[in-house]
Amino acid sequence: EDKVVQSPLSLVVHEGDTVTLNCSYEVTNFRSLLWYKQEKKAPTFLFMLTSSGIEKKSGRLSSILDKKELFSILNITATQTGDSAVYLCAVGSNFGNEKLTFGTGTRLTIIP
């Protein structure tokens, strides 16, 4: 069975700190790894990673994938209170009939 494990489960830091969220996976027919941010409603898309070693960046957020070691990290620098959310990692598998297997998420809380 496909498996995605995120760590830590929760994290509390002060505004301005840098955080690293981890995601490891075991899936058959890996296609992509996605990061989502979920506040109160629907998960909102952050990154999709398909190739190892290529960093994707969007403002203070960045992510990288290691397909050999089967993990990804999501970095957030200079955190702000608006970054408080649950961050979900998901792995897409089965080319053509894509399904996402989600991890349990990391709940990030930024203290002002």
Partner: protein, 111 residues
């Protein structure tokens, strides 16, 4: 225009009732999904339809029956609701597995 829209947003109902949740996407995607998110925020796929054809059917009680009248719509009907069905149900869509987009969710509470 909302890309993936679900109705209703909230649903409170008694045990034993039958209810439906509707989902529509206007993105031109070919695949639609239902996911269930439990109280611990764990999202798990339930069903996937590709061009109206059922592709993925995870281990879900047969009280749950999806229906896709066309590739822009995927509804979820639940019979004989149980307390354990209380969760947030998310509809999503994608095109060839890309551009995965979620609806805003339907919070179902069974009392």
């Amino acid at each position: 225009d909302t890309a993936v829209s679900q109705t209703p947003k909230y649903l409170v109902t008694q045990m034993g009732n039958d209810k439906s949740i509707k989902c529509e996407q206007n993105l031109g995607h070919d695949t639609m999904y239902w996911y269930k998110q439990d109280s611990k925020k764990f999202l798990k796929i339930m069903f996937s339809y590709n061009n109206k054809e059922l592709i993925i059917n995870e281990t879900v009680p047969n009280r749950f029956s999806p229906k896709s009248p066309d590739k822009a719509h995927l509804n979820l009907h639940i019979n004989s609701l149980e307390l354990g069905d209380s969760a947030v149900y998310f509809c999503a869509s994608s095109l060839l597995g890309l551009g995965y987009t979620f609806g805003s969710g339907t919070r179902l509470t069974v009392v």
